[in-house]
Amino acid sequence: MPLVNGGKIVDDSFTKLAVDTPLPEGGDILVPAERFLADAEALLKRGGRIGVIWPNNRDIAELVPYLGKIAVVALVFPSFRDGRAYSQARLLRERYNYRGELRATGQVLRDQFVFMLRAGFDSFEVKKQADAEAFMQTAKRYSVFYQPTGDGRITALHRRMQLRHSEGVGT
């Protein structure tokens, strides 16, 4: 699956490990949550960056003690209909101040990019090549946002306030 990061299709430097795949000597690895939690100290001491694949039905708060040392949190969309990872993403970004790479994995389609970006994802394992190629164009589909999220975009309510105040200056 193509990986989009920073708006561009990039090579993924991370190797995904299953629960029982032998640990490679070096290089960046992505490991499942249960493997990470079982052996966190040892994994963090190893050379190479580490990322965690976090299932969407596990409390994200469990990951909080390690967030400063993790390069990637990969959240999972087992189906594009299952929106639990959106809540996890916002909690990571807005409540736990996670600043590393936040990756959307699974059934990631272009029609979800805007929602995902707004929830705090900045990296996308996209299911279809054409969707990955359309990333920038799709991500710019909307210019108006009604809700405040941690992505820093100004909401419609506040834009109206600004317009109202700026109009008021000269009068």
Binding site: D82, Y86, F115, S143, V144
Partner: protein, 551 residues
């Protein structure tokens, strides 16, 4: 009326352009039906029995005359010349082509109408009292808060893929016309002892396969905290709501399984984390929304104008006036309910011609405003009393003056097997037969307020659980069978009806309803005792006996 500004219009247009692209990708095969399904549902497009069905939002039931005209235009240009007003403050078009949908949406966008989130597992069209802003005695216009919620829940980045659909209703009156107790979240506007505006919040109500009356989760949430409190409920639901079984995925099941105490603790914990965030609403924001609701310049008018006094001699006019005209908060004005339940017709349908003509009447007599209620009727919210006789004549010519609002022929019915791919039984022909049985106005009037609700399947779009008489069509051994409940209601005393006994066949439904009504007329203590109150006093038994003694 709420006036969209450039910001709202931009969003609606961006949505139309996105959907145009999605339809194109579906037509070219780039999107599979499975992938497209969720996207079209989020734009109000269902695949029904015969064609695509297109559901358009009418937020909190308020329409401007130019918007109603545009709905008529869509009915005429892309459909078969009529539309169907539903229990969700929506209008549905039943015969629309997929390839026409982007154009239909673009036409609607011109007048600030959209179909965003009228379906799908997201937050649906926010509904409210159809008399909002004009009902005497309401705390304040609930549409200001409805609009705040509408904006906040539109394309919400966290809650557009919930376990199931999610419905919010708001009322600001003691008499609940918004059925808040049978919604996922019900909000009742109240003032606290300091005179501050806030909400009693109910959660976990709903109909369908497993009906529940909503429970109060919080007695007072301050207006400034409304969005954060709703967001806390939704976040708990998004994370813990069931996704393994579609029939158990609604929030009512989560609330039921956890219990309201545990559920409210979860919400409270989440809320404490976010209530002081950017979700807090300051007065300025509310005032901005309030300023974009435009209210008519009412005149000082007599309470009993000569026109009304003279027209009182006409018994037909009087029958209509008594039935369809309600008090307005401003002296000299009335709220006029327009029955979309003529005898023998499908409940809630209106032709393009009727919609156009109603738009004209709204311009002439109601400051260009129309309301849509969950009872599948329309209303003109600001009619000067001296205009009532002329309005009645005009409505009568359009076939829109049936004096049956709240009477036994004012039936709520889903489209049923005639249109819907989910239905197991017909609803519309049952409604049509019942309206013919009780066509006599004197008899209907004698019976008094009595709500019949009909659903053609367990999903309960006709809200049969809360009908004074509820009729649910099911399929049994290849035959349509109808289960009858009595004693349900959707108002401030909301209750679920009780089954009177075994289901009856299609041909017997009207007879059974007649039996129930006859039993009521014999059993009521006095003419003012409503059917539903007689049922409450006596229980199901005497009605059951009357119905099954001879069957």
């Amino acid at each position: 009326m709420y006036a969209y500004d450039e910001i709202d219009r931009t969003l609606v247009n961006e949505r139309v352009s996105e959907f145009r692209d999605q339809v194109q990708r579906r037509l070219s095969g780039e999107l599979t039906e499975d992938e497209f399904k969720m996207l079209r549902l989020q734009n109000g497009v269902y695949l029904q029995l015969h064609a695509y069905m297109f559901r358009v939002a009418i937020p909190y039931g308020t329409l401007a005359s130019n918007q109603l005209r545009q709905l008529a235009h869509v009915a005429r240009k892309y459909d078969r010349g009529y539309g169907h007003f539903t229990t969700r403050q929506n209008i549905q078009f039943n015969w629309i082509k997929l390839s026409d949908l982007p154009d239909a949406l673009a036409d609607l966008a011109e007048v600030g109408i959209h179909a965003m989130q009228t379906s799908g597992n997201n937050m649906r069209n926010v509904t409210s009292d159809q008399w909002a802003g004009v009902a005497p005695g309401e705390i304040e216009d609930p549409r200001i808060w409805s609009e705040l919620i509408r904006q906040h829940t539109t394309l919400h980045p966290e809650f557009s893929f919930l376990p199931r659909k999610f419905k919010i209703a708001i009322t600001a009156s003691d008499h609940d016309r918004a059925a808040i107790k049978v919604h996922d979240i019900g909000l009742k506007l109240i003032k606290n002892e300091k005179g501050e505006t806030g909400f009693e919040v109910l959660v976990g109500g709903g109909l369908g396969r497993t009906p529940f009356i909503g429970k109060t989760i919080k007695h007072f949430v301050h207006g400034r905290d409304l969005l954060s409190y709703i967001e806390a409920i939704l976040r708990v639901y998004n994370q813990y709501g069931r996704r393994d079984n579609i029939y158990k995925a609604r929030i009512k099941i989560l609330v039921h399984e956890l219990g309201i105490e545990k559920f409210s603790r979860e919400v409270e914990e989440e809320w404490q984390q976010i209530r002081n965030s950017s979700l807090q609403i300051d007065d300025e924001v509310i005032e901005d929304i309030r300023s974009r609701f435009i209210y008519p310049a009412y005149e000082k008018l007599p309470h009993m104008p000569d026109e009304l006094r003279q027209a009182a001699a006409d018994s037909e006019f009087e029958a209509w006036r008594k039935n369809s005209v309600a008090p307005h908060k401003v002296a000299g004005y009335s709220i006029v309910t327009i029955s979309l339940k003529p005898i023998g017709a499908p409940p809630g349908d209106a032709t393009a011609e009727q919609m156009d003509a109603l738009a004209d009447l709204a311009d002439k007599y109601s400051f260009g405003e129309i309301r849509v209620g969950h009872e599948q009727n329309l209303a003109l919210p600001h009619v000067a009393k001296h205009d009532l006789p002329a309005l009645w004549k005009a409505l009568d010519q359009l076939g829109l003056a049936t004096p049956n609002v709240n009477l036994i022929t004012d039936i709520i019915a889903c489209p049923g097997l005639d249109y819907c791919s989910l239905a197991n039984a017909r609803s519309i022909p049952i409604a049509q037969e019942l309206t013919r049985r009780f066509a006599n106005h004197e008899l209907a009037n004698l019976i008094g307020r009595l709500h019949i609700n009909i659903s053609g399947c367990i999903n309960a779009c006709g809200h049969h659980h809360v009908g004074h008489i509820g009729i649910l069509g099911v399929e049994k051994n290849g035959e349509e069978v109808y289960q009858i409940t009595i004693g349900g209601r959707a108002d401030e005393s909301a209750a679920l009806g009780n089954l009177i006994g075994p289901g009856v066949k299609f041909d017997e439904v009207a007879d059974v309803v007649e039996d129930i009504v006859e039993a009521y007329l014999a059993l009521r203590e006095r003419p003012e005792e409503l059917f539903v109150d007689t049922v409450k006093r006596l229980g199901v038994e005497p009605f059951k006996e009357r119905v099954y003694a001879t069957r």
